[in-house]
Amino acid sequence: MNDASEMTVLPGAASDGRRTGRQRAARGVGRGLKRWLFLLPALLLLAVLVVYPIGDAVRLAFTSWDGFSSPHGVGFANFEDLLSDKRFKESLLHNAAIVAAIPIWIAVPYAVAAGIHMKVAGWRFFRLAFFLPVVLSPVVLGAYYGIVLAEDGPLNSALDSIGLDALSREWLNDPSLTLPVVIGIIIWATFGVGVLIFLAGLSNVDEEVVQAAQVDGASKWQIQRHVVFWQLLPVIEFWTVIIVIASFTAFFPLIYTLTKGGPGSSTFTVDYDLYAEAFGSGRLGYASAIGIVQVLIILLVSAVFVGLLRWRRS
């Protein structure tokens, strides 16, 4: 954590600002309620459209609501129903598979950033290219992959034309294959952000420590493993929390455009299930219960991953 605080943006300026701020207040500038006027509009908007809805999400989770009539309380019925909901359990299982892929989701951008940091030939171009999918909407990527991975699409016809037709598949219509394809696409679509974050971390690694390790005769691998890795840990933690959240929330737009949860329900994820229950089946109270369970699971999984990373350090 020491490394983390050293990397904070100008920590000195921050504490400085606080001290002189007090003096300024003593001099009577920006007095009283007027200062709050700067903050109030933002706080008001957040209160009405974020904080109040959090509470309302909890309340609605205990109701039955079809979106037309007013919601009426049903106690824990929604949560009891969740326990026996086959599609929800399947969605959870798919999210578990996504969570299981998180180590890859961490390792790929880390390794790529390390390669760019080594200034491999053409690194400037690569850094640019890897960022391209990041700026595109998941809707665009979903539509693109829908075309490219179609049965008679470019991928299969390319495989055919180079004699690898044995490898061509129904990428989007094979219950055992489509989920891995979707996970692969999400990792591919987001790794560019990870690369940037790890590059920022790598440029903050204390070069003196690395040089000292070199002088002591450590190999490149040993330096990566024992010096750079530990210094990067706060960044790795940060990225991990981001993708734990993403693994439960980032799939909706891609699945909505690419598979609609199919074939069957083989690519249903919790976030897609929530949408489908609410706006497909008109069970908005039930969907709210899914949302609450989703938040609890995200908290739990984040805690487990951060715990694992910290535990490995000691």
Partner: protein, 293 residues
């Protein structure tokens, strides 16, 4: 990467780390993998562009190859059937006001939190930042209900305020980092010269945090232009539908007419690509802002 793992002890200290031949092979391997990965990142653009300008017969003959017969029909159909122009305008009518609203609110809030001595400013900032970890899907139902109850369903204003609220926590967080880099002496000087808080923000602080503001605006524009979920739920009628919703629904309906979909995709990619080309540095700055915290 571990090509130099053996015989580290014989290596002269701090010298000739790259002089050995084997790391060269490692670098070659990395280069090859990177080249393949880069190709997968650039191909979507090439594929969409080439599919958009070719006839569907030409596409069917060799989907992955370069086009041989060209047509502008796909673009005409994208405008007449997909109403891509209308969709893009609808998106702009939501995204631009939302981005402006976010910029104003976040600037004022970050300024107050960092530079105006506000009681509990640290706690407030922490509370705002912790909202960033909230998965937006959990807010979907209650926000839908709220918008429905106040009669803003299918009203652009509804989506504008929802977008603004959802992106405020990150935006405030981002701007506080830039606010902290403003020298306090400058603010004090402005005060001594008789400038009030608003004046100081406008003519001293804003010019200094221009890079932060650019980052904020480009990032929010990109997020919101690309957003699907809340737009899908709040603007449900065809009249005000935004571009990503329009594309998602159109590509699901129109079986096999890839050329038109590709033309629509290509047009929808123009704003993100412009941002990519001209504001890449601002984007990168924003996306890594949290990492060094």
């Amino acid at each position: 990467m571990n090509a130099a793992a053996d015989s580290p002890a014989v290596r002269p200290r701090g010298l000739g780390r790259r002089a050995m031949s084997r790391p060269g092979i490692g670098r070659m391997a990395i280069f090859v993998v990177f080249a393949a990965l880069a190709a997968s990142c650039i191909y979507p653009l090439l594929f969409v562009a080439s599919t958009a300008v070719r006839t569907s017969a030409d596409y069917r003959a060799a989907p992955g190859a370069l086009p041989t017969s060209f047509t502008s029909e796909n673009f005409e159909l994208a405008f007449s059937q997909m109403h891509i122009g209308r969709l893009a305008l609808n998106s702009l009518l939501v995204v631009v006001p939302a981005v402006i609203l976010i910029a104003i609110l976040a600037c004022a809030a970050a300024y107050a939190l960092v530079h105006l001595e506000i009681r509990l400013s640290r706690v407030l900032l922490l509370a705002i930042v912790s909202l960033m970890a909230l998965p937006p899907t959990v807010l979907l139902i209650p926000i839908f209900k709220l918008i429905l109850d106040v009669g803003l369903l299918n009203n652009r204003l509804g989506l504008v305020v929802v977008y603004a609220a959802l992106n405020l926590p990150f935006s405030i967080f981002l701007l506080t980092a830039f606010m902290r880099s403003v020298p306090v002496d400058l603010l004090r000087a402005a005060r001594i010269d008789g400038a009030g808080a608003v004046r100081t923000l406008w003519s001293v602080v804003l010019p200094l945090i221009k890079p932060g503001l650019m980052t904020l605006v480009t990032l929010n524009f990109l997020f919101l232009w690309n957003e699907l979920l809340f737009s899908l739920v709040i603007l449900q009628n065809g009249e005000s539908r935004t571009i990503m919703v329009g594309i998602a629904q159109f590509q699901a309906q129109l079986n096999q007419n890839y050329g038109v979909v590709a033309a629509g995709l290509l047009l929808s990619m123009i704003p993100p690509l412009l941002i990519f080309v001209f504001f890449q540095r601002d984007l990168a700055r924003g996306l890594t802002a949290g990492a060094t915290k």
